[in-house]
Point group: C2
Chain length 153, copies 2
Amino acid sequence: MTTGAGEPVSDPERPEDRGFMALALAEGARASVAFGCVITRGETVLASGRNQGAETADPTAHGEMVAIRRFLAEHGAAALRGTTLYTTGEPCPMCMGAILWCGIGRVVFAASIDRLATRMNQIMISSTELAAAGFAPIAITGGVMEDEAMAQF
Amino acid sequence: MTTGAGEPVSDPERPEDRGFMALALAEGARASVAFGCVITRGETVLASGRNQGAETADPTAHGEMVAIRRFLAEHGAAALRGTTLYTTGEPCPMCMGAILWCGIGRVVFAASIDRLATRMNQIMISSTELAAAGFAPIAITGGVMEDEAMAQF
């Protein structure tokens, strides 16, 4: 279900989701903190990113932010609208805010913030809460390959 | 009052706040969307930023994000912890998430999200809600030179 401001957001898993999430997991496996992300349109991966907080001494260098910055540099903001973002951890409010400002159309995540919080500090506001407080429709699918993601952390 | 996760956050205005907010307003006055930000420690401004969304075609280039990126590049992440961030508009969830991940100690804003929402799209979650869902103490002071900020938008 694609929905907009003020409504709950939940989108069922699609056939292509596990393949793209496997790419995000592979990206995360290369990071010291194993968060990975790919941004797709149709069958094409247009950008990827992994957490680089330790490597670049930048606490904002989450996988999603890195992928979004690369996407903007390579393809521009207009092309980012309506894409799908796959991430191994549910986007935190920083990343989800960026996703909403950029008009990304769908988010697919593996491990939820609730599960991530059993391992590391989290800001305890879900991507669904952020989306419901936003200003444009976005679809969210959670829990795709969640156990595989948790095993990487 | 400085407070931590799960508690309301509210810090009274301090004598130096209007002077630093005037610098943030001056920074915002240079932007096509008039958001400005300065990051301080004691009496020193260590970084500044203004909204560059239009100029750089980057929807994530909010004044706070620009100032944080410049701070990290010039001074490093360790120096950012415990600083004060002045911004002409209440930080959105993206910026507030970044502020929390970076360990900034205090946020002072002019125009609230509620007032900004009368002029432009906003994600309707306050900086206080974000802070209360976070994992470390942060102080927040709102409404400093709010009318002056609104006049710039």
